[in-house]
């Protein structure tokens, strides 16, 4: 049986680790609260934008626009695909990073001309180590997502798309299904698929709408805004999921630390008792030996 000193040392080190996991749990929960509020604040904007875009598209059934051009003249296996991959800046979040990276790897294996735009340190380091070609100038943190960062990312992607450097743009992120489960998902950002926006129009009178200055200019304005809004939403949802996974991971860690402490405490008490029993036996034995000599 291990001696009491050893057990005491272990108990102390587990207690220290538990303090850290507990603190990380608290930090994550307060960050999660803030991120959720951000998401709520931006919801009306994004939702209104989506409805407006659907309405414009309904009135322009056959518009030719860059953002709707599926570039069918390029064969499927030669299309250049860009992926925005949203990971965390830190580990310690359960399977969160792993799930995102897994989807990205599957896509890399499927297609030839791929380019990764990775948000967050964990993903960047992972792909750099594996010698996967990632955009070096694309350095954004996953912490505290802001509208400004989303706009810069959207500008980068739109520029690459407009110049023909990319033919398709996808985003891989983690969305919150409810407060307990998160789901990793991949969405195509560009080009737009018209079907994504076709709401049922049956029986609804289609009002005549004038576009000022022209439908193209209006779309030029709406689409980048929509992309920015979508990227922002994805950043915030990923951040929420990250904090949520970290909370859960830290909660599990704290719980298992508690269990270990309980086990060790019992062991410690037994060892202590054994030592005391042994001491008593020795004293009694010694005393008896003295008595016998008299």
């Amino acid at each position: 049986m291990a001696n009491t000193k050893e057990i005491q040392n272990r108990i102390k080190s587990i207690k220290d680790t538990m303090k850290i996991t507990n603190a990380m749990y608290m930090i994550s929960s307060s960050k999660l609260k803030k991120a959720k509020m951000d998401l709520e604040n931006t919801e009306p904007y994004f939702y209104t934008l989506q409805v407006a875009l659907a309405r414009v598209l309904r009135h322009l059934p056959d518009i030719q626009h860059l953002y709707f051009d599926s570039r069918s003249e390029i064969p499927e296996n030669e299309k250049r695909r860009g992926y925005i991959v949203i990971t965390a800046d830190k580990g310690m979040a359960g399977a969160y990073n792993h799930n995102v990276i897994k989807i990205a790897e599957e896509e890399l294996a499927k297609h030839d001309h791929t380019r990764l735009y990775v948000v967050g340190q964990v993903g960047r380091h992972y792909f750099a180590r594996k010698n996967v070609h990632i955009d070096k100038h694309f350095q954004y943190t996953a912490q505290n997502p802001s509208m400004h960062r989303a706009r810069v990312i959207a500008d980068t992607m739109l520029e690459a798309y407009e110049n023909g450097k990319l033919d398709e743009v996808y985003i891989i992120y983690t969305k919150m299904v409810n407060s307990v489960t998160a789901e990793t998902d991949m969405i195509q950002l560009l080009p737009f698929k018209r079907e994504d926006f076709s709401f049922s129009t049956g029986g609804v009178y289609n009002e005549d709408i004038k576009m000022e200055p022209s439908p193209e200019v209006v779309l030029d304005r709406i689409v980048p805004n929509y992309i920015t809004g979508f990227i922002y939403g994805a950043l915030v949802e990923s951040f929420c999921s990250e904090q949520n996974s970290r909370m859960m991971a830290m909660d599990t860690a704290t719980n298992s630390a508690k269990e270990m402490l309980q086990d060790l405490n019992i062991k410690y008490n037994r060892a202590r008792q054994a030592a005391i029993t042994q001491e008593i036996t020795e004293v009694v034995g010694g005393a008896r030996a003295q008595q016998n000599r008299k």
Binding site: T42, P44, Y45, E159, E207, V218
Partner: protein, 134 residues
């Protein structure tokens, strides 16, 4: 006075939502006023100042970023990047932003950077212009 329903939504909040009688918004080539029962339209709007006259006669001004406005069935929805009240604007910050943007414009930049600088200059100028009045 005839009224219509107006909603100004920016990326981080709903800036304004009420019945109004008049709404003036900035376009690429000047300003445009909307009264009740306007023709159905979707308009691209630029960085500038909006002026709203509410149903009870108050005037609300704001500084908005790029976006667009749709008018359907006497309901107007304006969707913009950002919307601020003049009293919330920090003049010192706007002035610094203006100087920064002017400095950057003097240097050679890529087209993307040029556009971004131009937009931030326009934002700074509008902020300064609107806050001058109070």
């Amino acid at each position: 006075m005839n009224t219509f329903y107006l909603r100004v939504v920016s990326s981080d909040k709903v800036f304004f939502e009420d019945k109004v009688t008049r709404f003036v918004l900035p376009l690429e080539d000047g300003e445009m006023g909307i009264l009740a029962h306007h023709e159905n339209m979707v308009i691209a709007t630029s960085i500038g100042e909006i002026r709203i006259t509410t149903a009870d006669g108050r005037t609300v001004t704001g500084v908005v970023g790029e976006g667009f406005t749709q008018i359907v069935n006497n309901r107007v929805v304006m969707i913009v990047d950002s919307a601020e009240k003049p009293e919330d604007i920090d003049r010192v910050r706007a002035k610094q932003a203006k100087e920064r943007a002017e400095e950057r414009l003097r240097q050679k930049e890529s087209l993307k950077e040029y556009k971004q600088t131009e937009a931030s200059l326009a934002r700074a100028l509008t902020r300064l212009k609107v806050t001058e009045k109070i």
